[in-house]
């Protein structure tokens, strides 16, 4: 028995070799190898954008690699579709599980492969009985006939795992499974991982939280900028080693940060709190300053920014703008006071596809371009031309539908839209997420330019190089609280990662 376990550990359940994947303008993965062993948990760590998600999508058949091989149980294979990956026994449990709220737990577990009776109809008795048995194996004891929507996220994870067991998965990928869980639920999840391990599953555990990696992982693999930069046994490394591997690169040189004389405080936030999203937020933003907000996804940064502009209401707290107390009840009051927010999700929250470029730009400034209640298209064109040309927008005509532009150019339209309101404070949430390198540089250069002109910028970013390259000061948030404040001179990638992940300072 012991011998068996040892030999099975020698042979990977799945092995990726020399995998590469490019997207237009970006090399997401280059020559990456990863082996997952039965009965073993491998932690995959890396910054945002290091290529972890791309790898998961290749493993689950959603993306096709440009090169390299996938071997399952020593046989070379390919996953042309998500179904073929599932058939090969690879299953993924995502942050927000992909299940069906209106179906019962048992139906979710057996969707697509429900047991049939001799008439070819679904055998409900067997379905529910089997589901109960699988839930039991996953360590859950709730009724499989209840609807999924009545369960919390942690229990939904259990359903996803029972589903993985039902298809006899050999490889289970857990993509930040604890991101949305409470403390108690996290411990239940750890117990479950242990059970899956004992069951001989190969587990890939993606997480930003070092405490849990060291608690449950056996092996680690570190990605940086699409390459594998280290792997081995967790027992052989320290947290410091992992942090170094994750961030080990020179930063700062390529960022067009200008030295600006920082002026008086423009925006003062004190005692901001929200019942569930954040608490006790205090800071000052000065004229000409770029203030970086760093943290993991879900740290409450965007939620706080949205409350600043009146999308959500804080339960307590006060803002002063130029020394005056300010009450902001909705975004249009924020815009009028001179605080604007460029949201993170360009698709859902940014450009309005279907409207021409110039109308997108002038949307929040219509009161200025209109005369006695009527729109003046000539004024709108002039305003749109002024700001889009400052951002070097590439478009045939301002009358063109914004949906025909590339992601980077759409982002420029969105930023032009906000600058045209002549703000005092501009909040940029992940301003360069998912756009090509050229557009990124343009956005960074423009951000520097704005600060130099005396605008105050808050930049929410999860990319360490961007935070380090562009910020005058950095505030780190974790679980809705400010957990670190750093001046530019004392900024190191290690300090940021530690603060965001909640690791104590090294001795």
């Amino acid at each position: 028995m012991l011998q068996d376990t040892i030999t099975s550990r020698m042979k990977p359940a799945i092995a990726l070799e020399g995998i590469s994947k490019s997207f237009p303008g970006v090399k997401a993965l280059s020559d990456v190898s990863l082996s997952l062993y039965p009965g073993s948990v491998t932690a995959l760590v890396g910054e945002n954008g290091a290529g972890k998600s791309t790898l998961v999508k290749i493993l689950t058949g959603i993306y096709q690699p440009d090169g390299g091989s996938i071997r399952v149980a020593d046989a070379e294979t390919a996953f042309p579709t998500a179904l073929s990956a599932a058939r090969a026994g690879v299953t993924a449990i995502h942050q927000e599980t992909v299940l069906f709220d209106e179906l019962s737990v048992a139906e979710n577990i057996f969707l697509g492969h429900a047991p049939r009776n001799r008439f070819g109809l679904i055998d409900w008795n067997k379905l529910n009985a089997d589901a109960r048995a699988l839930l039991h194996r996953a360590g859950a004891d709730f009724d499989p006939t209840i609807r999924l929507r009545d369960l919390g996220i942690a229990k939904k994870h259990l359903v996803a795992i029972a589903r993985a067991l039902s298809v006899d998965a050999r490889v289970v990928i857990m993509d930040e499974p604890t991101a949305a869980l409470s403390h108690k639920e996290i411990h239940e999840l750890y117990a479950l991982v242990e059970r899956l391990k004992a069951d001989g599953k190969a587990i890939l555990f993606i997480s930003h939280k070092f405490d849990e990696i060291f608690r449950i992982a056996d092996r680690y693999t570190v990605f940086r900028d699409g390459t594998m930069v280290g792997e081995g046994l967790i027992a052989d490394v320290s947290q410091d080693d992992l942090v170094r591997m994750m961030v080990g690169r020179a930063v700062g040189s390529v960022y067009p940060k200008k030295d600006v004389a920082i002026g008086d405080p423009v925006l003062t936030v004190s005692g901001y709190r929200h019942p569930t999203e954040f608490e006790d937020i205090n800071f000052e933003l000065r004229r000409g300053e770029i203030l970086g907000f760093y943290g993991l996804i879900g740290a409450g940064r965007s939620e706080f920014m949205q409350s600043l502009i009146g999308i959500t209401r804080p339960s307590a707290g006060a803002i002063r703008l130029d020394g005056e107390i300010l009450v902001i009840r909705n975004p249009s009051e924020a815009i009028r006071s001179g605080i604007v927010y460029v949201p993170e999700e360009r698709g859902r929250q940014g450009a309005i596809i279907g409207l021409p470029i110039f109308q997108n730009v002038t949307l929040p400034s219509l009161s200025r371009t209109s005369r006695s209640g009527f729109l003046k298209l000539a004024n709108e064109f002039a305003l749109a031309r002024e700001y889009t040309s400052r951002l070097d927008l590439r478009a045939a005509s301002l009358d063109q539908d914004v949906g025909t532009l590339s992601g980077g150019n759409q982002q420029k339209v969105v930023i032009a839209k906000w600058l045209a309101t002549k703000p005092k404070v501009i909040i940029l949430d992940e301003p360069t997420k998912g756009i090509d390198i050229g557009s990124k540089a343009a956005v960074h250069a423009f951000m520097s330019e704005l600060a130099a002109q005396g605008l105050s910028v808050i930049m929410v970013s999860s990319e360490i190089p961007e935070i380090m390259g562009m910020s005058d000061r950095v505030i780190v948030m974790r679980e809705g609280r400010i957990v670190g404040r750093f001046e530019r001179e004392e900024l190191t990638a290690e300090k940021l990662v530690r603060a965001a992940a909640g690791i104590a300072e090294a001795a």
């Binding site: 999308i311 909705n330 975004p331 929250q349 109308q359 949307l363 219509l366 729109l375 839209k417």
Partner: protein, 325 residues
């Protein structure tokens, strides 16, 4: 987008011309100018209503209660006239418009403040408004002989050779065109329907914008209520029953996207005219009313298919909700 929309409208103009030519080939008197003017006059109410519906659809909502609103406002106008025959027509007209606006505000307020899906709200108010007519009248009709001559003749009155009814629709088209393309509210209709999430960040109150769209559709339904009742010289519970579907059909044929954010005033007018030509022409070339319904249905599906393809070409995400998953 402008070029594409123009193309789509040109396409519709072409389709209407082809239709008219085909009909004229079977029945030449159809293209006599007086007859074409009569067809336009006959379509005037549909045009007015389609413009109101367009404002609502642009904001990603729908108003199923327009025909019921029309019937209730029209009935109240008729009852006012029957009870006080001396009441000047402008007073009756304004009362109908005001009542329509209030009924529209009720829809808008329910959509805005209670956050109920628009289709459910207006399905409910459709039934309520029709029910109210019954409560007001006990199911009795108001017939031509109970209405004053001034009441009945107003829409037919000749002004420079064209009836007042046609004039009113022309004025409405011009006014709505101004609102849609030259006011911040019109721009907000497009923004709210095109991307409600993004509209919020630009300081547009999505609920309030939709409320105003419903006010507009209600106002136009109220106006149409008086016009309908006076034109046909009768008012009862079931007038214009099912007409809400013609209104929506006119919008859809006119290239107004049911998913919101796309559409134009010329499109809505042309969509209504297309339906108007079919309704007026098919009887004269001896096509049965049942075949007419089938033809209208096919036209609607064709129009939607054409629009859907046009939207795909632009790479527009038709089902925005898919992104939210």
């Amino acid at each position: 987008m402008a070029k594409l929309l123009k193309n789509r409208e040109l396409l519709l103009v072409g389709a209407i011309l082809v239709l008219v030519v085909l009909i004229a080939w079977r029945f030449p008197p159809f293209i006599a100018p007086t007859n074409l003017a009569r067809v336009y006059n006959d379509t005037s109410i549909l045009i007015i209503l389609a413009l109101g519906q367009m404002a609502v659809i642009l904001t990603r909502c729908i108003d199923l209660s327009m025909a019921a609103n029309l019937a209730l406002s029209g009935m109240v106008a008729a009852m006012l006239n029957a009870a006080f025959p001396g009441l000047p027509i402008p007073v009756i007209l304004l009362s109908a418009i005001a009542l329509g606006a209030v009924l529209g505000m009720i829809n808008g307020a329910l959509v805005w403040k209670l956050d109920i899906p628009p289709i459910v709200v207006t399905l409910g108010t459709l039934t309520i408004y029709r029910g109210l007519i019954f409560l007001l009248t006990n199911g009795k009709w108001i017939n031509a002989h109970q209405m004053s001559d001034a009441f009945k003749s107003f829409p037919r009155t000749d002004l420079a050779g064209i009836p007042v009814l046609s004039w009113l629709s022309v004025v409405t088209v011009a006014a709505i065109f101004l609102v849609i393309s030259r006011t911040p509210l019109g721009r907000a209709f497009f923004a709210v329907g095109g991307n409600p999430h993004a509209a919020v960040y630009t300081g547009i109150d999505v609920g309030r914008t939709r409320f105003f769209a419903y006010c507009l559709s209600g106002t136009l339904a109220g106006l149409s209520g008086y016009l309908w009742v006076s034109r046909y010289a009768v008012a009862y519970v079931d007038i214009a029953a099912g007409f809400e579907l013609d209104i929506i059909a006119a919008c859809v044929i006119g290239g107004i996207s049911i998913a919101g954010g796309i559409g134009s005033v010329p499109g809505a007018v042309l969509g209504a005219l297309f339906l108007g030509v079919i309704k007026n022409a098919l009887p004269v070339i001896n096509i049965s009313p049942f075949a007419q319904m089938a033809i209208s249905g096919m036209v609607i599906i064709t129009a939607v298919a054409v629009n859907a393809r046009a939207e795909r070409r632009k790479g527009r995400v038709i089902l925005k909700k898919a992104e939210a998953v």
